[in-house]
């Protein structure tokens, strides 16, 4: 097995976004190369692993049991004074995935569809000719290589370089990224519910999460907005929380990571598209990025196939990629970004007032929209400009 000299599409990064791009493009008959700089796909994880059931299911006709660690029936949000807001159903509304298995499986699906997959293979630069991305330079197992392609897709995560190499500025300002740390803790009581803890003493402009992973384990993590870090680092906050709440738990994994909470980047250019975290597609309010990565990967794979068939892989041709994500991912990002700007400046008193205003809500779908509609109904002080974003159409 060796690299070919030329592919239709090279995908850099084999997370869910990259693998779905590669799978989709290969299924459409393209010659696809998928490269991953790590030696293993899916590890180390940098994720709380939660997805909404409805948004996840629409991408997969079959959801394999081994992908799912826990089916969760809802979310419990604790305001700074400890007031509980529960959003739950009797049935599963979301999943906590086992990303180590899921990510690897998606890469296998891309391979089964015909894509070449190489790990410990890192892109170090793009081949650019006449202002057009024409391929990738990299290192594989210590050997330098150059491979040409009509389209390169940057799926290289929060630390993305592909966009920058193509002249797209993807740098995140500290106010547009959450700095995160997480433990997988074993030997603790858990229910099939995700827990969220809010408060400026607990997690400034962010939150602490506890997502169940099996019978007695949970991903317990924290995200703090970069611009609010000073003195204590996220890891200190996490340790304080864990010491208080899970004194007897055993920490069996330590995880760090950054979560974009920004507007999307520019996502296309001559011969290039960006997907997933590389395109800054995470939801700025929840921090969730898995389903947006999958969705954008599917769009990028489809658009790659169309544009190669039409023999136009220029910025103009690839523009339809943005058109496609704008109406789904883009619309949600618009709302969530403004909501984030509102929440990060809300003192604990405001968070408490919101929590006091609503009781248990019955829901069938985990959505920020549904919760916000309830809150807006009961809290006329929420700025009208924000409220109107959540009005039923």
């Amino acid at each position: 097995m060796s690299l070919k000299n030329k592919y239709d599409v090279i995908v850099v990064g084999a997370g869910p976004g990259g693998s779905m791009t590669a799978k989709t493009a290969a299924e459409k008959g393209l010659n696809v190369l998928l490269i991953e700089k790590r030696q293993e796909i899916g590890s180390p994880i940098r994720c709380a692993e939660g997805v909404g059931k409805k948004s996840f299911k629409k991408f997969f006709p079959v959801i394999k049991d081994e992908w799912i660690s826990t089916k969760m029936v809802g979310v419990r949000i604790y305001s700074p004074d400890g007031t509980l807001v529960e959003i739950s159903d009797n049935r599963a509304v979301g999943y906590i995935l086992e990303r180590k298995i899921f990510d690897r499986d998606l890469a296998c699906m891309a391979a089964d569809a015909g894509a070449d997959v190489f790990t410990k293979t890192r892109a170090t630069d793009l081949i650019i000719k006449d202002n057009f991305v024409k391929g990738v330079e990299g290192i594989r197992l210590g050997e330098s290589f150059k491979v040409e392609a009509d389209i390169v897709v940057g799926a290289d995560g929060v630390e993305s370089k592909v966009g920058r190499w193509a002249g797209i500025n993807t740098t995140l300002k500290p106010k547009d990224i959450e700095s995160g740390a997480e433990y997988l803790i074993s030997g603790i009581p858990v229910e099939d519910l995700c827990e969220i803890y809010l408060g400026n003493d607990i997690a400034p402009a962010g939150y602490v999460w506890a997502f169940p992973k099996g019978e007695n384990r949970a991903n317990v993590g924290i995200g703090i907005l970069g611009s609010k870090i000073g003195g204590k680092i996220p890891f200190d906050y996490l340790n304080e929380f864990v010491k208080k709440k899970y004194k007897n738990g055993k920490i069996i994994e330590v995880i760090y990571g950054g979560i974009p909470v920004s507007r999307p980047a520019k996502t296309f250019g001559n011969g290039i598209m960006l997907v997933g975290d590389a395109a800054r597609f995470t939801d700025p309010i929840t921090g969730g990025g898995i389903t947006n990565a999958i969705e954008s990967g599917i769009y990028a794979g489809e658009v790659a196939a169309e544009c190669i068939k039409e023999e136009d892989t220029s910025e103009e041709g690839l523009k339809k990629y943005e058109k496609r994500w704008r109406s789904t991912i883009g619309e949600e990002n618009d709302r969530s970004y403004l909501l984030k700007e509102f929440f990060i400046n809300l003192p604990d008193g405001g968070l408490n007032a919101l929590a006091h205003s609503i009781n248990k809500i019955k829901i069938t779908e985990l959505s920020v929209k549904g919760l916000m509609r309830e809150l807006i109904d009961k809290n006329p002080w929420i700025p009208a400009k924000l409220a109107k974003l959540f009005k039923k159409k």
Binding site: R122, E159, K173, P174, S179, A181, G226, G258
Partner: protein, 61 residues
């Protein structure tokens, strides 16, 4: 100069995302900082979830 405590670093790449100069690279299981292109904004030091990056004494002189 930014120094990396490799015993703390979890090679998560958060520092890479906030570096305006593109001076940091996540290479598989470690990070590299290119001192030449570093603009000493210290964004990486502030954002690191684990405190693995520090402004080294050399540049404080």
């Amino acid at each position: 100069m930014i120094s990396i405590n490799r015993y703390k670093c979890g090679y998560c790449g958060t520092c890479v995302a906030v570096c305006p100069a593109g001076a940091i690279e996540l290479v598989g299981a470690w990070i590299e900082i290119d001192g030449e292109s570093c603009v000493e904004c210290n964004n990486c030091v502030k954002i690191c979830p684990i405190g693995a990056l520090e402004v080294s004494d050399e540049s404080k002189k």
